[in-house]
Symmetry: C2
């Protein structure tokens, strides 16, 4: 307790003890009878309290809160190893799962809102090359690591592993750049531009692979290169089509909606739009997050000008509490699915290690895409390292897909992906600070590991 | 369309047509495969769009938005009568149900936040008498109507019907008083004070009856007056105990939580506190909303002063988007459970009519509790008429309870309660305006019907 007491302030007060005590609640019997929300309510209590406590610890230690939420999940999901039972439902309860799924849809909608279609079309050539190289190299390396270390699985599993390494989570990079006053530098612009393109390319790869698995599961499509090309084109087509149709429809939709009276019209209609595209993506055999992200890309402040003061900034502010309730449910559930016992074998540890190396080394290839010689290329490569939520989301989708009778992402592979996400997130801030706080280019870190 | 076009502005634009077209989506096949969120996403789209469109119509017609949401549900839930299928899930889907249940917990938390324990202890003698009379009279009248018109059912069904008539929903009254500049008058203070006490008494009655049904279902408690007294004492004890313990714990809990860093700590910890009490209420055999309401009563602005600027006003603002997403899910689902075919029999129409008369007449007894002769007593009685969400919540709990093999609140009785809520909400604004806009007391409306 002394460590935590120090981190929290002068004395470990009764309040902290009480807050922590709520975590010791798991053994309460579920006597709630027929109301299915009664156990869910307890899970939500434990998830929220653990997420906020561990998120605090992460922030105090200079890490992003999401890392703490993930580790809170790992702790809660493995409490049974310490003989504490009653919280297994956090990883398996259908109610928690439904909240987590809607949470990740709202989260990707928020991520999409941060960019516009114009942003994507306008990224410079450097950003575009960095993004493409930063997707191809980790995808190939991840696939190779999978083929080498989990040879008994289908190529879909190996490709899925590659896909989890594609999308950059620049939230951490953006905050470090802000901390050291470099958020408006050329490096920052290249990294942020590349990350947006990254997300789109990663989602297309995800859509393509999971589409092929779903089609094979329905016995519809034979395996091979041409069906795969067809499914990829379908994914690209869905994204491009929804962006085109969406861009045409939304101004009309929102100028109509702006006339509606009553509370919460903007947020209600925006969420309905997000949920509609997410649903359509699901119906098309893609992940709902693809549609939610597209919905976020489509919506732009100009659509809301008829709402008067209630513009897109208000929309993002309005979404915050929703994301703050639902996103921790997703991240804690992600963590809870990690089976620590999976690491009893050295094979699993090797997989986690090599996946992490592939993730870091793969993104260093990015730096070749930087055309401007005055830019610190290695800083761009380092800035692209963190994977964060999108990698986790991909892994969780793989864990929910079944191909030829087995999960595409099994317990061991899933846990290895989570380790990779945690490590890439942890190494970025110190490396980036070391490189950019000093204006002279520093020598490249060897091997990237 | 001309009517709607007129209500919405000068011309029925393409936007409105598009917004309405989303409602015609139900026939899309659910091909989402294994992701359980895909159908839920569509239900949420339809619920949000219908709620905002009908809420708008209600507001334009001078009615509260919640009335429009309820009617949107009645329409959606009975579309199958018009041959449109695919939306039956709004009334029956377990995912929608879970979101609605969490929604009503958050809603009652918000209602509780609007009052403090001190408010309840401080209501004047007039408010207290008005509240007590306004609970006893409608409870007794509702029970009698039940015993007369649905004689084949258990006394629990009759008592439950009485309970749905107890709690006043003063939101509508408060807004009418504000509109005519009387929100600081003596009548307003008596009505608002009585409504808070009303909520507490109504929840105790609900807890007592549903507790007795759950206990009987478990074969634990024999029927009779003394076990009922015991269950009532348990409900009172839970409320009093959680208020006492909560008042002692929360200052410590929140002064500890205020030291946590990271986003959304206040809203996360507040929701965790609400969900914890709701869960404990469920475990104790009471409705989770009893705990959520108690949590709202306990939390006071003073607990948040260590959060600096982020005080309780920010908490209520932060809860808004959550309530705006989740509460329409609850109200639309409530409406969707109304079976219009139930009104094919004259017996059901009689039940709806007499229940409404009992609801209105019962609250007129209130006016006897007003001691101050300068107060417009009849206006107090009229101001207490609207039932709104709490009556609906009680009915939905009754519909989910099974006693001796049949639902406590069956399809016909449920639909009659919804009609009663709609009518009491509709009649209040014009009556109240007629009574208070003119400073002279007007003659009482005869019979109250």
């Amino acid at each position: 307790m002394t460590g935590r007491g120090r981190l929290l302030g002068k004395r470990p007060s009764a309040g902290i003890l009480l807050l922590a005590a709520v975590l010791l609640f798991p053994s309460i019997a579920f006597a709630g009878g027929e109301d299915p929300s009664v156990p869910l309510l307890l899970y939500l209590v434990v998830i929220l309290v653990a997420a906020k406590l561990m998120g605090h610890l992460a922030v105090v230690l200079g890490q992003p809160a999401v890392l703490g939420e993930l580790l809170a999940g790992v702790l809660l999901g493995n409490l049974h190893l310490a003989g504490v039972h009653g919280l297994e439902g956090i990883a398996t309860d259908p109610g928690v799962d439904l909240f987590a799924r809607i949470g990740v849809v709202v989260l990707l909608f928020e991520v999409g809102l941060e960019s516009t279609i114009r942003d994507i079309l306008r990224v410079g050539l450097s950003s575009f090359l960095v993004a493409v190289l930063g997707v191809i190299a980790p995808f190939a390396l991840g696939w190779l690591v999978g083929a080498w270390l989990v040879p008994g699985h289908s190529w879909q599993t190996h490709a899925f592993l590659g896909a989890t390494l594609c999308a950059t989570s620049v939230g951490i990079t953006a905050r470090v750049l802000q901390d050291i006053g470099k958020s408006r530098g050329k490096e920052a612009r290249i990294i942020l531009g590349a990350a947006v393109v990254d997300d789109v390319l990663g989602l297309i790869i995800l859509a393509s692979i999971s589409g092929s698995i779903v089609a094979a599961g329905e016995g519809g499509a034979p395996s091979g290169i041409w069906p795969q090309v067809g499914i990829t084109l379908k994914a690209v087509g869905f994204l491009a089509g929804s962006l085109l149709v969406g861009t045409w429809i939304t101004p009309r939709l929102f100028s109509g909606a702006a006339r509606l009276r009553g509370a919460g019209v903007l947020i209600g209609v925006s969420l309905a739009f997000c949920f509609l595209l997410a649903h359509l993506a699901g119906v098309a055999g893609l992940a709902p997050i693809v549609g939610a992200f597209a919905a976020g890309l489509i919506l732009e402040p100009v659509h809301f000008r008829k709402f008067g003061e209630r513009n897109i900034r208000h929309l993002e502010e309005g979404l915050r509490p929703l994301v703050e309730l639902l996103a921790p449910v997703f991240f804690v559930q992600m963590g809870a699915k990690v089976e620590l016992t999976a690491f009893a074998s050295t094979g699993a540890l090797w997989l986690a290690l090599l996946l992490t190396v592939a993730a870091i080394a793969g993104k260093q290839v990015c730096s070749l895409g930087v055309l401007d010689r005055t830019v610190n290329r290695w800083a761009v490569g380092v800035g692209m390292i963190p994977r964060g939520e999108v990698g986790l989301i991909f892994a969780s989708i793989g864990a929910s897909l079944v191909f030829e009778g087995e999960r595409v992402i099994g317990a061991t592979t899933y846990s290895a992906v989570v380790i990779m996400v945690v490590v890439t997130t942890l190494v970025t801030p110190p490396l980036l600070k070391a490189m950019l706080a000093d204006p002279k280019p520093v020598p490249p870190p060897d091997g990237g590991a």
